[in-house]
């Protein structure tokens, strides 16, 4: 890639976001790099670990109780993207605090914890407890509220598409995170995303992340039935990038809250598009599943 003339940032330099300084602007997206513990055993000729240059791993979303997730198949590959219906499988908040968070700290993985719940107040409870456990940790930088998972029957779809609910969730978590960032991750499955971003900003978040997956469906032509057991899933990958860019642009121009761009970022050029629109950081999702070094290589290339 030829570095364009307008590009000045060092994406691997520390930068201030809300009350905190984050180590860099290239993050991995929630659900696409596990809890951030799988990278240490993977090596490559060009990079020692997949964490090199990474500003934050956003963890798989954690819910108050453990969840077994949806039945298989959970992934449909499409020409330039995928539809998933993982169903928020996770170990649950308690196990996360006990087993995962200390391990992330021990291994020095910069992280943002993604949380989901079915009622706004639960976000407050989880944020408070997380801060209790995590306040002394150097590598825990904050919380991302997953307000948008379209796969989960209770919550999900309608939950995150109402500005008042978005505001309530942010407001519930904010007081418990005095020196950690609070990011609201928004759904793109709305006519206008700016009102959601405005609600989140007003309720006190430090940034919004846009976008989560787009509602999609694929049909198995042999059977004539939807491929996923729950019919719908979340569409991600390169194919949704133009939609993500449109939503990001809408937020940047209408609301002005800091935006973390996510959706279809595969390589350095893709990331540049989001930075060009004014994003303060970007997240690599589906591409990280394919290439453990996707985000790290992207960061290295943007740095050159």
């Amino acid at each position: 890639m030829n570095r364009p003339g307008w590009w000045r940032l060092d994406p691997c330099a520390p930068f201030a976001l809300g009350p905190r300084t984050l180590p860099g602007r290239i993050w991995t997206a929630s659900g696409c790099f596990g809890y951030g513990l799988h990278g240490h055993d993977i090596a490559a000729p060009d990079l020692a670990t997949p964490y090199e240059g990474i500003g934050a791993v956003v963890t798989k979303t954690v819910t108050p109780q453990p969840r077994p997730g949806n039945p298989m198949p959970r992934l449909v590959e499409l020409p330039f993207g995928a539809i998933n219906s993982i169903g928020l499988e996770n170990v649950g908040f308690a196990a996360f605090l006990r087993d995962v968070l200390p391990e992330l700290e021990a291994r020095g993985v910069p992280n943002v914890v993604s949380l989901a719940a079915t009622r706004p107040a639960e976000f407050g409870t989880m944020a408070a407890r997380l801060y209790e456990v995590g306040r002394g940790l150097r590598h825990w930088h904050g919380v991302e509220l997953n307000l948008s998972c379209p796969n989960v029957a209770e919550g999900g779809h309608d939950f995150g598409s109402d500005p008042a609910t978005v505001a309530a969730c942010v407001a519930a978590a904010r007081p418990h995170l005095p020196d950690r960032i609070l990011v609201a991750k928004l759904t793109p499955n709305v006519a206008q995303i700016a009102p959601l971003a405005a609600a989140a900003a007003q309720a006190g978040c430090d940034a919004v992340a846009a976008i989560n997956t787009v509602v999609g469906l694929d049909v198995d032509t042999a059977s004539g039935r939807p491929v996923l057991p729950r019919r719908f899933g979340g569409y991600s990958g390169l194919a949704i990038q133009p939609i993500a860019l449109a939503k990001v642009d809408e937020i940047v121009r209408e609301v002005g809250v800091p935006v973390v761009g996510v959706g279809g970022i595969v390589d350095a050029r893709d990331a540049l598009k989001f930075f060009a629109l004014g994003c303060v950081a970007v997240q690599v999702g589906t591409a990280q599943m394919r290439d453990p070094f996707a985000a790290a290589r992207l960061a290295a290339e943007l740095r050159r």
């Binding site: 659900g31 993977i42 090596a43 490559a44 077994p68 997730g69 059977s223 394919r290």
Partner: protein, 287 residues
């Protein structure tokens, strides 16, 4: 902390390497071997796999899992059948073509210890590689290996020379070779004899789901231990997406949980798999 993904790691670290095709050709009518030269040699244990991808416009959104057949120096080999988009594109790779290779991954078949009973191998079609690798590396005189192919033309004869036993589902025309006509589980039964036979066995199986179910049933009936390698759909292959889960029995409340087959497997104790929950919803008419 299995469900967290930090499953017990195999000795070798995983490498993300850019390889080059050195050979890619048929070893039977339906099966092909792909040899890829990597920038460095990697260690693997039989049963471990690699995630492969093409480059350029044919690059796939997700890599594809393939069991490692063998390695020799910096060359790594795979046995495959062109059944879909990725494997068809793979079949078109010429020497020199670039291949992305993440390997080795996953839990291997157990290496034999002194107390390990004689092994009974059941390999079906493209389920051969992990068991070919096991047999080549660990084979002891009492171990038995059975391979099942679709028909005589489908059998990769050079990979399954005697003492491999071979069965075919269809036997058309005159059988030039002496092969068993029937399912590979039937062949295996013929080899180990009636239930009365006293020799305990460790069953190792890889192949289509019906084969795995049959192998698990056989082992259960005889009270033998059994390990199966599951070919579940995969997204990442390295534990981060949860797109590859299999239901396994669990002491906890619901009685089962989802195991991550790329890191906790692909080789599982057959007795732990919740075979009733296993497998996808059956296909039917249009919605």
């Amino acid at each position: 902390m299995g469900p967290l993904g930090a499953a017990p790691r195999p000795p070798a670290a995983t490498w993300d390497l850019a390889g080059r095709v050195v050979a890619n050709g048929p070893v039977s009518q339906g099966l092909r071997v792909l040899d890829v030269e990597l920038p460095r040699a990697i260690d693997f244990l039989p049963g471990q796999f690699a995630m492969l991808n093409l480059t350029g416009p044919a690059r796939l959104v997700f890599r594809r899992p393939f069991s490692i057949l063998a390695t020799a120096g910096r060359t790594i080999s795979f046995l495959y059948r062109a059944i879909g988009r990725g494997t068809s594109l793979m079949a078109g790779l010429a020497p020199g073509a670039a291949v992305e290779c993440l390997a080795p991954l996953g839990q291997p078949f157990p290496a034999p210890a002194a107390a390990t009973p004689p092994v009974l191998i059941l390999a079906g079609g493209v389920g051969l590689p992990p068991l070919y690798a096991w047999f080549a590396r660990y084979r002891r005189p009492a171990d038995l290996a059975c391979f099942g192919g679709r028909d005589l033309d489908d059998v990769p004869w050079d990979l399954v020379p005697p003492p491999w036993q071979v069965s075919v589902d269809r036997l058309d025309g005159a059988a030039a070779r002496s092969v068993f006509h029937g399912l590979v589980t039937e062949l295996a039964l013929a080899c180990v004899g009636e239930p009365g036979d006293a020799t305990p066995r460790l069953v190792l199986a890889c192949g289509p789901t019906p084969l795995l179910r049959a192998a698990a049933r056989l082992a259960r009936e005889r009270g033998w231990p059994c390990r199966v390698s599951l070919e579940e759909h995969m997204g990442c292959g390295y534990g981060v997406c949860k797109g590859c889960v299999v239901p396994v029995r669990d002491p906890g409340p619901p009685g089962w949980r989802h195991a991550t087959s790329c890191t906790e497997g692909p080789v599982f104790d057959a007795a732990l798999i919740d075979w009733d929950r296993f497998g996808h919803a059956a296909a039917g008419g249009p919605a």
